[in-house]
Symmetry: C2
Subunit: 920 residues, 2 copies
């Protein structure tokens, strides 16, 4: 059995797995010579044994004896010593912060005898009895599992008897009486007396901390956060110091920089004559930390020096908890502090300027999610706002609109061009249309995993949820909140980042970070945040290996993405070009009954497609543009079968001639599929409908030829969707090559060279390196059109070695791959059971948001390995929505893809994370 207990002097900050975050940082501060009250940490190893066997290891008692002895020796007093007791705190602390676990028991070591010694030593009987009261209360709740109300009710009764509402009005006698009441409650609830042996108190508290690792809440939290179930928690035992011994004592929290703005300079709060829990309880008001300079100059100076030491040591913003006991400063905790997104960027670059960290480290310190936050529009902070409540910011953004209570009302208002906020107690799948129609969603129930939250995030729609101050009465169509009432037609504004809800319309200001990316705000224009973002983006671009492309179907999107830094298009969905006014031609294509009709419909579509590609290729001139041939089932272009059936039935009933609808209904019924996601689509369509792929390829190739003639540098890449078998790809590729050769034969001047194979390799070489000129050896009229495929079916990943024989590139379609690997369709399940799955911890995050590394990711890895085994220079990208998700980007870097492709707005996040991924 290894060592189980460590004196604070024996640990350091890197031993978090063993000593927990708290214990490791207490040890670090001890070794830095900072004033930490002596103590020791019982390691997580001991907890693991407890969890595995149900009892603490036999050796633990001896080790604790040994450390308690040493502590008593050092402090010159003993646990339970009647005239001058040593008191200790017992605190849980795992390697990762776990709010689901028991936190702290203070004042362990007090009993019926030693309470008098403490009173005598402190010269403060009220303090001593209050400390004993606190011990029994905390011990009762967290160790003995009693209801907190038992104790709160007793305190309330004591205050009522005294005729006061303030705890401080209870004097020593009152508190001594309360202790009696508490002890009786313990006896009643547990069948035994409150333990008088301090060592028994310590052992029971330790065991309770160990046991709290497997509390229901902790298990659920771990499942949701994907924290290993067998890590266990450490227990830190620390000698007590008191901030509540009089006005020369106090307690506070502080940050070494402003965690909100990131500005240099300490920042914090102080409360005289108080313990930490009093600060949390918020009974009295704290004063700014700066006031401590007046109150206790010595402690203030010591604190400033310590904070400088800590920042220099941790090389980051630290947050600390401290206590002053009768003019002596004690450090109770430190850790690298949380901060806002803006602060993260500013602190990271400031630390570089201050020489504390290098730019790589600065980049590690900022996250794509933080950058994304900075890119959402915000409410104008200078505008006057009427805050009505603050709840959970479930899906970021800022939205204003008229209140509606039903999906139907939302849809109607949206049809009239009005902006609305859908307000519900909670949402369910029936609300989907309303959620789509609304600017934002506000619910009074549910957390970040509620239906509203999950669906809104999936849509990128602003959402605030769990606003339990709101009394939402859908039937009466009104909301009451803190005395205010509002109803349909009234405008509210919701901030999906902060969770704030305002009455009335609040003006929205654009994000300066977006203005910078758009090019309308220069990085050196004086905005410090923008300057910081610029520095770190530049560094990310320099070091990243992954290229970043965009998913874009229009020239506008392509141009925007290019401004945002896209190095090409990774996915152009051509099916979007079959909508709108072109629907009629598509209808003719689908209804065609012979080759002539089919060809006529295709001939109508070809010039339109050609025009689309002209614009798109021109917008991305000089950069690769991956064009996916048509993918969805054709009946997506036809009206709903249900609506048509009703129309036809009603027309018959009325004796009218339904005409066209009858033919349409027959076609829709013929093409109807039980599961269109798993039906006739992608390459299957291309192989079944003669001329469809050829029409698209002709449109692409002739658009490119025209641009080349005009001196441009179009670089189309043709992508075949939904391939499951090498034979499918080979047949489609044969046709694509045939059409490319035909168009080239018509368009190529004598002597020019056209190639279709192997081009992707050359084309992408420069992109990974950061977006230089992609083709080194480009001649005057020499060009190539790489032909590749989506890997979006499990089978394609499994037989990627075969597929690679006919593909110049793979693009992993992780949306569809997630659907088929898990066997669920995003349309159907995200609204129906994902919220419950997230609640139950089956998912930590929706697999459509962040790549499921174990399942889908494993298939991606298989696809990469097998594909490259056949063709080492195979170009590999990903164009599912995961391409813009930070965690997924690190995974794609790790498995060796060449580029990610994402929506234009997520390009900056992808660039940043691609850079960060190289530092993993």
């Amino acid at each position: 059995m290894p060592k189980l207990v460590y004196d604070f002097a024996e640990g350091n900050k890197d031993l978090k797995e063993l000593l927990g975050g708290k214990g490791a940082n207490l040890a670090e501060m001890t070794n830095l010579g900072l004033p930490v009250p002596p103590g020791f940490t019982i390691s997580a190893e001991a907890c693991k044994v407890y969890l595995a066997t149900g009892s603490v290891p036999a050796e633990l008692a001896d080790e604790i004896d040994h450390h308690v002895d040493a502590l008593q020796q050092k402090m010159g007093k003993k646990l339970g010593q009647a005239d001058d007791p040593l008191l200790v705190s017992v605190r849980s602390g795992a390697a990762v912060s776990m709010p689901g676990m028991m936190e702290t028991v203070l004042n362990v070591g007090l009993n019926d005898d030693s309470v008098n010694g403490l009173a005598h030593q402190s010269g403060n009987a009220r303090f001593a009895w209050d400390a004993y009261r606190r011990l029994i209360q905390m011990f009762g709740k967290t160790v003995l599992g009693m209801e907190g109300d038992v104790f709160e009710d007793a305190i309330e009764a004591a205050k009522q008897a005294k005729g006061t509402r303030n705890d401080l009005d209870l004097d020593a006698d009152d508190l001594e009486a309360l202790v009696g009441t508490f002890k009786a409650a313990v006896r009643e609830h547990t069948g035994r007396d409150f333990p008088q042996d301090p060592r028994e108190q310590l052992d029971l508290a330790t065991e309770a901390v160990f046991g709290s690792w497997n509390s229901e809440r902790a298990i659920l939290y771990r499942r949701q956060e994907r924290i290993a179930a067998d890590l266990g928690t450490a227990v830190s035992v620390c000698s007590m110091v008191f901030g509540n011994l009089g006005m020369d004592s106090g307690t506070g929290v502080a940050f070494t920089r402003d965690p909100s703005s990131g500005q240099p300079g300490v920042y914090g709060d102080y409360l005289q004559n108080a313990q930490g829990e009093d600060v949390v309880a918020g009974i009295r008001n704290t004063v700014p930390l700066a006031d401590l300079e007046q109150i206790d100059r010595t402690s203030y100076d010591a604190l400033m020096e310590i904070m400088a030491t800590l920042e220099g040591h941790y090389k980051d913003l630290c947050d600390i908890e401290f206590t002053v006991e009768r003019g002596k400063l004690w450090m109770l905790q430190t850790r690298v502090g949380k901060r806002t997104a803006a602060a993260a960027f500013r602190i990271a670059t400031s630390l570089v300027d201050e020489g504390m960290i290098d730019t790589d480290e600065a980049l590690r310190r900022v996250k794509g999610a933080q950058l994304a936050q900075l890119m959402f529009p915000r409410f104008d902070s200078d505008a006057s706002k009427e805050l009505i409540t603050k709840a959970i910011g479930a899906s970021p953004g800022a939205a204003s609109g008229k209140v509606v209570f039903t999906s139907a009302a939302a849809v109607e208002a949206a049809d009239r061009g009005e902006k609305v906020i859908l307000v519900r107690r909670e949402t369910n799948p029936d609300d989907l249309h309303g959620m789509i129609a609304a600017q934002g969603i506000l619910t009074s129930r549910g957390g970040k995993t509620s239906h509203a939250a999950v669906v809104a995030r999936g849509m990128g729609k602003t959402c605030v949820c769990g606003a339990d101050d709101l009394d939402v009465n859908v039937a009466a169509e009104k909301v009451t909140v803190n005395g205010t009432t509002f109803g349909p037609g009234e405008v509210i504004s919701i901030d999906g980042t902060t969770g704030e809800v305002f009455l009335g319309e609040v003006p929205v200001v654009p994000s300066p970070v977006v203005q910078y990316f758009e090019g309308s705000l220069a990085p050196d224009a004086g905005d410090e945040l923008v300057a910081a973002v610029h520095r770190l983006m530049t560094h990310a671009d320099e070091i990243r290996r992954l290229g970043v492309r965009t998913n874009a179907d229009t020239a506008d999107d392509a141009a925007r993405a290019r401004r945002f830094g896209a190095q090409g298009i990774g996915l152009c969905r051509t099916e979007h070009m079959f909508l709108g006014e072109r629907r009629e031609s598509v209808e003719r294509l689908i209804l065609s009954e012979n080759a002539a009709e089919r060809e006529a419909a295709l001939a109508e579509l070809e010039p339109l497609q050609r025009g689309d590609f002209l614009e798109l290729l021109e917008a991305m001139d000089g950069l690769p543009v991956t064009i996916r041939l048509i993918d969805p089932p054709l009946h997506e272009f036809l009206p709903s079968m249900e609506d048509l059936a009703v129309k036809v039935a009603l027309a018959k009933e009325r004796g009218e001639e339904p005409g066209h609808e009858v033919k349409l209904l027959a076609a829709v019924q013929r093409l109807h599929e039980q599961n269109p996601m798993l039906g006739l689509r992608g390459v299957r369509l291309g192989l079944m409908i003669p001329g469809l792929f050829a029409m698209q390829v002709r449109a692409i190739a002739s658009a490119a030829a025209e641009l080349r003639k005009a001196g441009k540098d179009p670089r189309p890449e043709i992508m075949i969707p939904l391939v499951g078998a090498i034979q499918e790809l080979q047949l489609a590729r044969d046709e694509v090559e045939r059409v490319l050769a035909e168009v080239a034969a018509n368009a190529t001047p004598a002597g020019a060279t056209v190639t279709t194979e192997g081009g992707a390799g050359a084309d992408e070489g420069g992109v990974g390196a950061g977006g230089g000129d992609a083709i080194a050896d480009r001649g005057g009229v020499e060009w190539s059109t790489p032909i590749g495929t989506m890997i979006e079916l499990p089978r394609a990943a499994v037989i990627a070695d075969q597929i690679a024989e006919a593909a110049d590139f793979f693009s992993f379609g992780t949306n569809d791959l997630t659907q088929t690997t898990w066997g669920f369709s995003r349309d159907d399940v995200e609204g129906s059971f994902f919220s419950r799955y997230l609640e139950k911890g089956i998912f930590a995050v929706s697999p459509f948001e962040s790549i499921d590394r174990e399942g889908v990711g494993s298939l991606v890895r298989t696809g990469v390995e097998r594909g490259r085994a056949t063709r080492p220079d195979l170009k590999l990208g990903i164009c599912g929505e995961h391409g813009g998700d930070p965690d997924s980007i690190h995974f794609f870097h790790e498995v060796g893809l060449d580029y990610v492709s994402c929506s234009p707005f997520r390009i900056p996040v992808a660039r940043l994370e691609a850079g960060r991924a190289t530092l993993d």
Copy 2:
């Protein structure tokens, strides 16, 4: 470069890859001392070089020179020798038979000079000119790529000029004139003269054979049959012998046993004064082989001795081609002969009785597909039948019914209880309902991969297709065939095995093999086929490692499967128990708006389910019964949204009160999913609808408890469907265990032991070994209920190591796994593009019929490996339809599953193939 050309004396029958089937067997016969005309074989290696480089290897010419010299020396005459030319045949021959390739050029070595020498030597000028004519014709077609009509037309013209319709009436002069015409045609079509140099003829023919490997037909054939593209073909060059030198010459084919019945005794045909191609052309009638004894006793005796030698040597039925040239017998080819299903069984057991092979080898010689053929009902062979045509037997079985021409008519007739045969030119997805309603399908177009054939096989429906004698006129509702006309209402009968079509109803006789399996015909009752089947089934059962279970939902099916040899139930689909009169309770469950309503609906269903399980467990008493908890989406139990919408709209239009339908429509719309296959089903339903799984488990456990009380031995196993994540399975398992413990607590007498974990391991031990008592240490009331899961999602296979932590067994659901791995839904695609995919060679066989080893199989293998890595004693089975497919069974044996489960009727096939798999 290795040796490229082999004298017949240098090869043997095991060198098929090198010498092709023909060459290897010619070598074998040569070395057996049989009279094979001398010759040599150019190996497939030479072809591979040709295919890779586009030209024959440089060394080949020298090697051929050497072998030609040796041959000339042996034969005492030279190629092209003017007075007595050596003639050779040039024949292609790959390791596997490839009908898509060029077959043969005869008489190579003839030219304008040597034709006269041949005339002189044979004393038969007509013969010589006919031989020359044949050479130019075959050479023109197969080597020079000319259209066959060119030659046929010229022969036709010559006969017309002569006023005859018989080739034999053309004399030497006519044939000499025809040679002139043919040569002119060659010159016209190719721009050069017919090559006079015999060596050039030989080289061009060789190169043409090599090139034919990559003809379009050959490529398609290989793609469909999954033959490697780079095998290449060998070329056998054999000195010519002639069966057409007079009445003392002739040619024939023979079998060493009757390939139709399997009865001992030679069997064959002989044609005097003819070459092999004349037999094929069918111009004159052959005589039975026995007649040769009268015609040429010496040759006959020699042939009998040779056939005995060959059968003794190959230890199997051989088929041979031979020629008698002026009284001298020559062997031109032999191979192991094809045979009928019945013959396969009888020959295999006869050979055992004759001491030629052992029983293992006999089992290798019969196939599950043959056994399946023997189990289909057949038309009574003694009944008088009016055969109207014979086409392709596309889906076996025998069916009679009235002719219908449309799907609608088929459905209407079926609704009236009438049996119909759907007759179409070809079918398309619109005919699906009609195909379901009909007893059988008959088409005039398309082959074994046509839409009709594919869909019919998928349904197990009798189908004859490609009956191109039929003139099907759907508009006029009549069929004309060889002068007979029939129409709607007239009865026809189709045999899906033989492809025969009869007018009128033909009585069907049951299969004696099925009677044997059913127990109504004893194996020693005198039916030789049944005796043979019994012997080989018994042996298969003795040696197989795979257990064979059945998929059955009712006690009747279970009982039948048990008679057929099932060792338990591998899949009971409980959703079938929610249909019929129970639909109303299910509707109430779905429409329930609160817990009370839901629980009431579940309470209605529980006793019904309990009754189902009582019957099922009793029918399988003592054997494992794997019960899958409810799997499909609930809205499958509701009416169609389209129909309801029309009903509601019409009711509104008429001013009626639609009532219940409105509520139903709302529910159907709420539950509607775009892709129900990928929606809320399986374990997802169980986790979302409180009490649903618990109700089913309670029904199972209490049924089992009741049977145990009655002294029975029920062995339920509970299976959770559609698991993708370990958390899902763990949550479901927790609930199942809770309910099992509850029921056990109520039902268990004091002292009994109930376990739920690890039971599967013990339970299945005996099954693999052939179905002995499954639990060795079974006590009075000790039992266990294994809990396992389906592996039917790619993700489940990939994370099988995790899943195995909470599963006592896996059952691979290869139907759903095929759907998700390929990303297609069987309902949607089998009728829409599978036939085209089969035609194009993308599939060799539907992946729903036979397991896709490369894709789906790879995931099964992953699931097995990872599952057993976690839990070495994990019980593994498969319950998709592949469980009854012969090729798939070999795969499941190979990857190490414990059992397969299939429909009752396929149990015998599965037993046979499971036995055969151990011999692989």
